[in-house]
């Protein structure tokens, strides 16, 4: 089988932990939800066992509109892991959620769910741009991606 075509290197899948699992379960249903304290209502990110404001261990997963703005972004160039080097340079954005401003999610800006990491023209990637979550599978996990509200 020496002449079998090489499999394309996979992107990393999120390494889901106990605290984060509900986030990914909701994402698989196309919902962007963030952890919030069920006692005092404060949202928190990344998810954790108890509330830093009131110490309650009771949490809920609050649905968001999936809307936000680009707070910052970078454009990595190689050397990178092979799957990422093959896609580089690509923007990685940090999205501040409209419904929970201290929750800033790292993600990829694309023209549509599942599109290439570099599908949005570079001049359209700007701090302050409004974005909307869409969902696509990556390494067996459904992850939020981001499209421009005004493409």
């Amino acid at each position: 089988m020496a002449d079998a075509p090489a499999k394309p290197d996979p992107l990393l899948a999120p390494a889901v932990d106990d605290d984060g699992a509900p986030y990914w379960e909701h994402a698989a249903r196309g919902e962007l939800r963030v952890q919030a304290c069920a006692a005092c209502g404060e949202p928190r990110f990344p998810p954790r066992p108890c509330c830093p404001h009131c110490a309650s261990f009771s949490a809920e997963w609050r649905r968001t509109s999936g809307r936000g703005r680009i707070w910052s972004y970078v454009v990595p160039h190689p050397p990178l892991l092979p799957a990422y080097a093959a896609r580089a340079p690509y923007p990685v954005i940090l999205v501040e959620l409209t419904d929970a401003p201290r929750v800033r999610l790292v993600g990829n800006l694309v023209t549509r769910a599942g599109a290439a990491f570099d599908s949005v023209p570079r001049e359209r990637v700007r701090i302050g741009a409004r974005v909307q979550a869409v969902f696509a599978e990556q390494g067996g996990v459904v992850v939020p991606q981001w499209i421009l509200e005004r493409p």
Binding site: L12, P14, V74, H77, L80, A88, V92, L94, V106, I127
Partner: protein, 383 residues
């Protein structure tokens, strides 16, 4: 309350050569640096009874102690968060010596990051938060994580790449005076900087520290003992660690104010315990894994106001003769990147008056560990 102020001193410093590749093992390099520091202090290895290093240090105290011939060791400590731990190694030894837990402490860092693997390439031993929330999206390396904060910093405060260049240039100019520096014979120009390849926009090649094989160590003893050692003592005037509320190392994206990091927390504690203020600092060794950490640190340690760190670098402020001569051995950007330990040893050289880029009559030196991670800082003073 008991105070660490001037209770201890750095009595000896040692280092190996710095290079992209050294042939000896990290363990051998650690032993060479430590023995060199003890020789510099004039203290026998059998007198060493305390050790401190980084959690990322791969040679442990047991190996080092038996190799150098230490006696009974009664204090040993490791500090976490990569380059954030550098100054804390000295701080932990200072606390141990000042409280009588030990009498001769050795802090060290040995690393073959030049010829060894890049930690971010490891996909089987990732830190849990980045592994879940940031790395899958292509934010893979420390440079990518800090570039995110850098872009926001430039946007929010109107700082420019020229400001980052000022940092890179000051470090390179000092390295050009330091025969031990990896970049000794390699001058940097603005044109080279502006046309260099990107690593992670907005950070280019020259915004990133070197990849170095090398080791350094220093010896901490009581101030009284230090006065009988070979060199002029360099007092540990103040020391602090800093982990701010709701901070997250490297990916500090999830609080009210991500651009105000551990430097602010460490600085409050550092100055509170000190007799001096930022205006009294003659020379600073500021952790420079990335150029943008310097303006952030200048703000955090109180040399200028929020958002003024970029402008502070203008007009040669960081050069010899400027407002705050910086990283006078070349720093992590141009001498060697050994998790910031070379900044500690260079602080000692400045206060001994033996730096290759000596600031005239330097009496007070600030040394900082990594900004952007749980950090630490030292104020060193000459007698």
């Amino acid at each position: 309350m008991a105070s660490l102020k001037d209770a201890t001193a750095i009595a000896g410093i040692g280092q190996t050569p710095f290079a992209k590749q050294l042939l000896e093992s990290e363990k051998a390099l650690a032993c060479r640096a430590i023995l060199s520091a003890l020789h510099d202090a004039g203290i026998a290895p059998s007198e060493v009874d305390a050790f401190a290093s980084y959690t990322m240090e791969e040679t442990d105290e047991v190996e080092v102690a038996k190799a150098i011939g230490a006696g009974d060791v009664t204090f040993f400590s490791k500090v976490g968060y990569g380059g954030g731990g550098s100054c804390a190694t000295v701080g932990h030894l200072a606390a141990a010596v000042a409280t009588g837990q030990a009498s001769v402490g050795v802090a060290w860092r040995s690393r073959k990051r030049g010829s060894g693997p890049r930690p971010w390439r490891n996909t089987s031993a990732q830190l849990p938060t980045p592994a879940q929330w940031t790395r899958p999206f292509g934010l893979l390396r420390p440079a990518d994580e800090i570039a995110m904060l850098t872009r926001r910093y430039l946007h929010e405060y109107g700082a420019t790449r020229d400001h980052l260049f000022n940092v890179a240039l000051a470090c390179r100019n000092r390295a050009n005076q330091n025969p031990a520096a990896m970049m000794y014979e390699r001058p940097l120009t603005r044109d080279m900087y502006m046309t260099s390849r990107w690593i992670s926009e907005p950070l280019c090649l020259f915004d990133n520290c070197l990849e170095t094989d090398g080791a350094l160590a220093c010896v901490v003893v009581s101030a009284e003992r230090a006065r009988d050692c070979r060199h002029k003592p360099v007092y540990v005037h103040s020391v602090a660690q800093g982990l701010p509320a709701q901070h997250h190392g490297m990916v500090n994206y999830w609080n009210e104010d991500p651009l105000s990091g551990p430097a602010w927390t460490a600085a409050r504690q550092l100055w509170k315990q000190s007799d001096v203020t930022p205006e009294d600092v003659d020379v600073a060794q500021i952790y420079d894994a990335f150029t943008s950490l310097v303006p952030l640190s200048l703000e955090g340690y109180g040399f200028c106001g929020r958002g003024e760190g970029g402008a502070f670098t203008e007009g040669g402020a960081l050069e010899i003769g400027g407002r705050l001569p910086l990283n006078t051995s070349g720093g992590g950007l141009s001498e060697a990147y050994v998790h910031g330990f070379n900044l500690i040893n260079e602080g000692v050289k400045q206060l001994r008056g033996t730096s290759t880029a000596q600031v005239p009559d330097a009496a007070t030196c600030l040394v900082t560990a990594g900004e952007g991670v749980p950090t630490s800082a030292l104020l060193l003073r000459a007698p």
